[in-house]
């Protein structure tokens, strides 16, 4: 099944006008796969029929949904891979070395969206250290994405993005057209609403904080405020993991880079003072 040339041209034009993103020839599959959930919601038979209904009106909320569906880079499991390799290959061993007999770990997954990051952390730590008691605080500003995270149910398209097949068969079961995460993994994660510019969430102080692909959306001054707030929520021996293109350098000098291959991993400087503090 694929979309007709007419449908593709209409959707590509719509997306280009609204977002400046070009959907070139060969992207028919993308249009089909991203719009199928909308088609099902509308109770229609196919993408062609859905797009035909859009063409009859000049503008509707459905037009916005189509643009969103094709331009949103949705979150994935074990996103970028390297941070999770750093988590189990360096961060966890370092924490165990610093605290022999370590029995529990507190992790904060900030801006967790629909839950793929905190659940990936849970599954990675469960495989690497099954006896450790891991408590993950997952926060986001949006109640809508938090509700999805709490539900622990994901579509086939979401499951395909980055979830290793071995991990998938171990932790998921089918629930109708969706897949449901095991109680064991879900019980490791607590979701709560939180604004990064406010006081850190309950559940800390944390051994590990994931703050990935968030700072890029803020101006330099706000990035500094967020990093200082995060610094206060992290234990002195803890680790901060940022996104692949993010760094603390030039924003807040109270962090040291940890050398772990391609991961963006930081630890608080030993002085413990945050830039700008007396």
């Amino acid at each position: 099944m694929t979309v007709s040339a007419d449908t593709f041209t209409y959707v590509a034009d719509l997306v280009r006008r609204r977002s400046a993103i070009q959907l070139g020839a060969g992207k028919e599959y993308l249009v089909e796969s991203r719009l199928l959930p909308l088609v099902r919601q509308a109770g229609l038979a196919g993408v062609d029929e859905y797009v035909k209904s859009l063409r009859n009106v000049p503008h509707s909320a459905d037009h916005d949904r189509v643009v969103d569906a094709l331009t949103t880079n949705e979150t994935s499991w074990f996103r970028d891979v390297a941070p999770f390799q750093a988590l189990t290959g360096h961060v966890l061993p370092a924490l165990i070395q610093n605290s022999p007999g370590l029995t529990s770990l507190r992790v904060w997954s900030a801006a967790c969206s629909t839950g793929q990051e905190p659940y990936s952390i849970a599954m990675a730590l469960l495989a690497a250290a099954p006896d450790l008691c891991v408590k993950i605080t997952a926060t986001d500003i949006s109640q809508k994405v938090l509700a999805r995270g709490r539900a622990g149910r994901y579509s086939q398209l979401e499951i395909n993005r980055g979830l290793p097949a071995q991990t998938f068969v171990r932790h998921f079961t089918r629930a109708g057209t969706e897949w449901e995460l095991s109680d064991q993994v879900r019980s490791m994660v607590t979701f709560s609403q939180h604004n990064l510019l406010h006081t850190p969430p309950a559940g800390g102080p944390f051994d590990i904080i994931f703050l990935r692909n968030v700072l890029i959306y803020f101006d330099i001054q706000t990035r500094g405020e967020v990093l200082r707030s995060v610094r206060r929520a992290l234990l002195p021996s803890g680790f901060l993991l940022l996104g692949a293109v993010e760094a603390t350098f030039g924003i807040d000098d109270s962090w040291e880079t940890v050398s772990v291959g391609r991961g963006s991993v930081y630890t608080p400087t030993k002085s413990g003072k945050t830039q700008g503090e007396p």
Binding site: G26, E74, L157, R161, V169, G263
Partner: protein, 127 residues
Amino acid sequence: MRALVIDDSRTMRHIVADILEELGFSTTQAGNGREALDLLEAGETYDLACIDWNMPVMDGFEFVAAVHARPEWRDLTLIMVTTEGELGQIVRALTAGAHEYVIKPFTSDAIASKLQLLGLLPAGEPI
């Protein structure tokens, strides 16, 4: 890097091949497992094979098992790309030697993320 795309649907082969080519692979297409096996037996080498399950002549499961049985082909990374979405089928494919599994329908970032997991695309880079 060279990839072999095995699917009896020409449309599907083109979709998968386009995604892989965008990611920097050169691709060869085969219409079933037997055709793909013939290429390997003729001495062609590939880094990756994306394999449909249900195909005439030789299906994807048989192809994976045949490749797995030949030590000289052990460097070939095998990803099943199929509509077969039952957990039992996935376990069966992994046990037979498949390294990863993508269920149709999928988006291009699904393939890219699996290639990152398998070390065929660099980790640490957004996709």
